[in-house]
Symmetry: C2
Subunit: 300 residues, 2 copies
């Protein structure tokens, strides 16, 4: 079954202690789609400018991403410049040019409203709601968000939470939204806001999956080198949701396996700049990473 | 087999979002000894003042801690005042009075130099070395340290690392000492300094165990409520080393089980203020916590 992905497509300029790249393919919906593409046919809902390179479109298409909902608008593509210092956990934003993204009004192409799975990437909660309303009886809708919306559009974000089944947030943002400190309480507070499932992303420290009455906690994979953490969270979400889109039934055990796949794919993403390694990920490669991951976590 | 524990014994005054306590039993060697006492007979090497309450001595003795090396000196006991804010991961030190601890010159009582296991808690690296030199052919010596010594006595600390088998450090301190960012590289850099094993403590995010050619990564236990994080790291180290002191042979699998026990005991410690819950820990209680922990981490 397919997965709708809505979010940003961007041209990123990134500096990390291990190098720098200029105007490479980026954005939350890009990373999520490429990761989901390992398992399913993602349907991308996004906007790009008339300067968006054809080779980026070709790359996405080659990875099975359906681009019928990726509109080209007059003007320049969204641009982000960021830097990671010594502590690779936190990006410092050096510049943002919203460009065509500023007037993004996501609309689903004909037939896409019946898409059974959806990922509402990190965009204005009002746009997330608009997409959610266009979906007819989906099986699983997930959303992400960030500090900017938590602070600036809290009320609208809480409306989104009532309308989704799963929320992804990083630990700092989840604390900010809930006002709780300890992660178990943070997760339960998120679930009280609406979703059945909460996934707290902890960067290099892995992730915590929570339902009302169960937890699954996964440490981060220990990669040899982190070249560029950009897109790790969206790769995680896209990989997990892509995996779930292939499951006949949604079960707690299946969701756990999805969290493991998402985290494994994110660990591949950060081993190269931009989407270089993610775009080359295959199911066998991910399963090899999962096997190594299992050895790392195994109790006995 | 017994475990020598050297470090501070203190009277702590602690405020957290869930309450406050005044002049309760604390200190690195206290937490480590009480945790190790779940498995073995810890031999405590420390100094207290003449104001040290007899009831604290009785509590330690009741938990099986051998106090022959816990000297009483004229003057006041070491005092620490700290506060934890909203983010319970980081203690803010409000006041330190070293008192008798300022002139601490650890000396092992007769017969203790043959103790097979030792934990050199977080004290001046020169004192750690002094204790290490008094040990005759130990099986396993571990040390801990902190930012203060890494910055101020780096050369001496590196000498300690050459003389121990295992180092415990939290992630920020391990990064500070090695100059590496990514935790896999951090761990390998620590091992190049001397010890066979490195344990990077990550607070609520668990721990990473590393040897030259293997890793074991453990997420943190999800407790219901964190009342007071004080002593979590020392409980972890003491619990792990106490467990290992009971093992006939030291194997990688055994060390992994030790890490799990240490982390389980630390999760009990933080559920109450000071040593209240730790001092009531028993092997069956720890094994129940380990069983719950296993359910939380289980992949299938």
């Amino acid at each position: 079954m397919s997965l709708l992905v809505v979010g940003s497509v961007a041209l990123d300029s990134i500096r990390t202690p291990l190098g720098a790249v200029d105007q490479v393919l980026g954005g939350s919906a890009t990373y999520a789609s490429l990761a989901a593409g390992v398992y399913t046919t993602p349907r991308l809902v996004a906007v790009v400018g008339d300067d968006f390179p054809a080779r980026h479109r070709r790359l996405l298409a080659r990875r099975g991403v359906d681009l019928a909902g990726c509109v080209q608008a007059p003007g320049r593509t969204f641009r982000w410049q960021g830097r990671y210092g010594y502590d690779l956990n936190v990006a410092e934003t050096l510049g943002v040019q919203l460009n065509v993204f500023q007037h993004f009004a996501p609309r689903l192409p004909d037939g896409w409203s019946a898409t059974p799975h959806a990922f509402l990437g990190n965009i204005d909660p009002e746009l997330q709601l608009r997409v959610r309303r266009q979906l007819a009886r989906p099986r699983l809708v997930a959303c992400d968000s960030m500090n900017f919306w938590i602070a600036g559009k809290r009320r609208q974000l809480l409306r989104v939470l009532k309308a989704v089944d799963l929320i992804f947030l990083n630990d700092a943002e989840a604390r900010q939204l809930t006002g709780e400190s300890h992660l178990g309480r943070v997760a339960q507070a998120l679930i009280r806001c609406g979703p059945t499932l909460a996934v707290i992303k902890k960067g290099e420290h892995g992730a915590l999956l929570a339902s009302r009455d169960a937890y699954f906690t996964l440490p981060g994979f220990v990669v040899d080198d982190v070249h560029d953490p950009t897109g790790a969270g969206d790769s995680f979400a896209g990989g997990m949701l892509g995996y779930l889109a292939r499951q006949r039934r949604l079960t707690w055990e299946g969701v756990k396996q999805g969290v493991i796949r998402g985290s494994a794919i994110a660990s591949l993403t950060i081993e190269a700049f931009g989407t270089d390694r993610l775009a080359a990920a295959t199911r066998p490669l991910v399963e090899r990473r999962v096997a190594a991951y299992r050895r790392l976590c195994r109790w006995t």
